[in-house]
Amino acid sequence: MSAPSDNMPIAVSAPRTRPLLLRHLPYFIGAAVLVALAATMQFDGYILNILMEATTFAIAVFGLSVVLGLCGQINLAQAAFFGLGAYAVGIGTSDYHLSYWFCIAGGCILALLAGALLGMSTLRLGGHYLAMVTISFQQIVTLVMINTIWLTHGPDGVSNIGRPDLFTSAQSYLAFCVAMLALVGYAVWHLSDTRLGRAMRAVRDNELAAGVVGIDVFRTKVSAFALSAVLGGLAGGLFAGGFAYVSPDQFSFAESVVFLTMSLLGGVASPIGSAIGTGLLILIPEWLRFLKSVPGLYLAIYGLSVILIIRYMPDGIWGFVNLATARWRAKARVHAAGLALLLKPATIGGNIVLEVKGLAKYFGGLKAVDDVDIEVRRGGVHALIGPNGSGKTTTLNVLSGLYKATAGRVILDGTDVTDMPPHQRAAAGLGRTFQNIRLFRSMTALENVVIGAERPGNTLLGNGGDALTERAMSALTFVGLGVRANELISSFSYGHQRLIEIARALAANPTLLLLDEPAAGLNSSEKMELHELLKRIAAQGLTILIIDHDMTLVSEAAQHITVLNFGRRIADGESMAVLRHPDVVSAYLGTD
């Protein structure tokens, strides 16, 4: 979708791979032991069925932990994707005598395509659309399974489903499923620390900020949704082989609800939680079999559980355990303070970094910004000031792509960015902060800044994940918060959160930094610090466009000032001259 992101070095975490694998050796040993147990222990048929169900369901629930837990998007059709995989294996091996491997791959691809299409049609819109569309999709899949009898055998279902030649016995097939569970679990567990996983969490925490730091929000959501669908399809394919029989009622909306409840109960944010939730909700109904004798009763209890979990235990069992044991766990080590922050703004265009020509933004009949020209010269601090409602923040939002310009052009360092979405502008070298701070609140300060450093097109990144962390550390150290890198955002004061936001923008090594009222809400000593910080940034040659009300700050820091009033430019030029301009004085103080 976005060409500029292709410039990014790809193998970000390559050099860390070996020690990572070494550190996670216990996981693989544990997984191998489980697979060996599954393959050798003597189970009776009943236990074997429960284990098979738990294993395959857990993979489907992992899918939910990606889309709902990491990315914050809802999927109420996981049973439908599960069903696509199951029917692909069922119909393929039973009716058409195709190879199991071919069928399960086909099922995954089918689920992937369905998930991607569904996501692409809906994910630009709000979350309630996604919820309804996934429910609708779920209903359609059930309708098709029941009604296309020539293909699916209708309500009778598909029987005599095959298994791969390698694993024909139920026991060996179970071992195979456990191995798949371990692999998928490992991948999902580590997803959250990859570039894509961080992007998903950023989108979940704050969509607007994610776009502005260079994340393609739409593509990230579609990826999460498609990934969740694939895991559903894979789980369904495994399930079909395990039970040798599938029918439409196994993949109904009720089953999607069961998956959702499993995921919420265990803790939606982590695969461990998913596994716990799945295990519990498979075992509990087995213990309370009498509940199943009354149709609807156990689903009613699931519905009630969903309401109660959301209200009293929003992070699920695993989240609760994590919180309770947090004080016993060793505090994460503080990384060695990074090297001094290096800023090396790109210089492609000429002397003018930002050229705004005839910019206008109308909201209906309201001309919030009207025919504004701004020229920001390279290497200085340029201030955009004006009374309340003069159109400053609107201008900034148009510049960063959050609003679409009604008219005019925006040229950043020689590139016309007028029609680009926010993440492409970030890739082109635009960084910004927000007046009402927009950080990723569930993450640490360091993680926030790492996401900034990951900006596509950041030329200062060496290869490897360590370089990313180093760059983020030096940015945090630069604003004076290096020692608190591993603390969660919520533990920082308002002023410090502002500094983290600035560090996030600096780590990206932007060509132009937009600061939206950075002094708002700061006390006088914090304002002094901010002023010092601005000086140090400007000393490295980074161009800053700042909006603020604090005239002392503006007049001391900025060499050049543009003044807006009622959406129009009323003055522009060298600081002192502009501040004495009669129109400016009257705009601020009124005229007699």
Binding site: G72, I74, L76, S121, T122, R124, L125, G126, G127, H128, Y129, A131, M132, V133, I135, S136, F137, Q139, I140, L143, I146, N147, L208, F253, V257, L260, L264, V294, P295, G296, L297, L299, A300, Y302, G303, L304, S305, V306, I307, I310, R311, P314, T393, L396, N397, S400, L402, F434
Partner: protein, 291 residues
């Protein structure tokens, strides 16, 4: 041609039901910024209440009707207190999930109590309908259309010309400002939930004689009503009504000319087509988050 006229009448009748439920959706969405996924279950529960009062207990139809609506008002209040209100300061995702949980709870509680067998509810009138030229006008459909027209007019009068209506509007537009002006926001939200539950219940009672009274009727109606709100433009009252009517007509013609088993699928196809080509709907949704 005669068939087409007949289908048009039926389509408008069923579309009116979707419109009523969609109206409930829109009112709650405007007051709370949350889509209530249990809106369809309100219709289902009301229909079952009618079965209990009018069929099982044999009480007069009008009394059963009033009792069922009173029951819905109570359910709306409980729903607000138990599901929405405790989560009002959280983001929309937990609230959506909680309303989905409530929808599952309601549907399956009724299933556990009443069993899976669909129930039959007689229509309000003894006369089944009248023949008007080539078109047969079913009396229940006539009633549905009449009630919908009355309710739309009432809704307009209530929100535009009464103090309570204006307070509700103020709450839905800016909660903080409304509370500063002395409007009790929590009371307004409570009224909205009660009103929406009664609207949804009314739709369920009206449509019950046309369909069977079943557990699935809630989710089916809710999906159609949601599609209707998107077609009309999310959050727009006129849009919800026009979207509902349009969907009823499309679906009826689709079932007659294309395929009966996939009747419930047409709403989804229309929905996806709108999402791709005109996501803001006919009248347009006001979506913009301030940076």
């Amino acid at each position: 041609m005669d068939l087409a006229l007949q289908l048009l009448f039926t389509g408008i009748g069923i579309g009116a039901v979707y419109a009523l439920v969609a109206l409930g959706f829109v009112l709650i969405f405007r007051a709370t910024n949350v889509v209530n996924f249990a809106q369809g279950e309100f219709s289902m529960v009301a229909a079952y209440l009618m079965v209990v009062f009018a069929v099982d207990l044999g009480w007069p139809y009008w009394l059963s009707f009033l009792l069922a609506l009173a029951g819905m008002a109570l359910l709306g209040a409980i729903f607000n207190l138990g599901v929405y209100y405790p989560l009002r300061h959280r983001t929309f995702l937990p609230v959506i999930i909680a309303t989905i949980g409530a929808s599952i709870l309601l549907a399956n509680s009724v299933l556990a109590i009443y069993g899976p067998q669909p129930q039959v509810l007689e229509g309000w009138f003894d006369t089944p309908g009248i023949q008007l030229g080539p078109v047969y006008l079913d009396s229940q459909y006539l009633l549905i259309i009449a009630v919908t027209i009355v309710l739309v007019i009432f809704n307009y009068w209530f929100f535009e010309h009464t103090m309570l209506g204006k307070k509700l509007q103020a709450t839905s537009q800016d909660k903080e400002m409304a509370s500063l002006l002395g409007i009790s926001v929590s009371t307004m939200i409570m009224i909205t939930f009660i009103y929406s539950a009664v609207l949804g219940g009314l739709a369920g009672i009206l449509v019950a004689p046309v369909l069977f009274v079943s557990i699935q009727m809630g989710s089916t109606i809710a999906l159609k009503a949601f599609a209707a709100t998107i077609i009309g433009g999310f959050g727009d009252v006129a849009g919800a009504i026009i979207g509902g009517l349009a969907l009823g007509i499309i679906e009826t013609f689709g079932a007659a000319y294309i395929s009966v088993p996939y009747k419930d699928g047409f709403a989804f196809l229309v929905l996806v087509a709108f999402l791709i080509f005109r996501p803001q709907g006919i009248f347009g949704e006001r979506v913009a988050e301030k940076a």
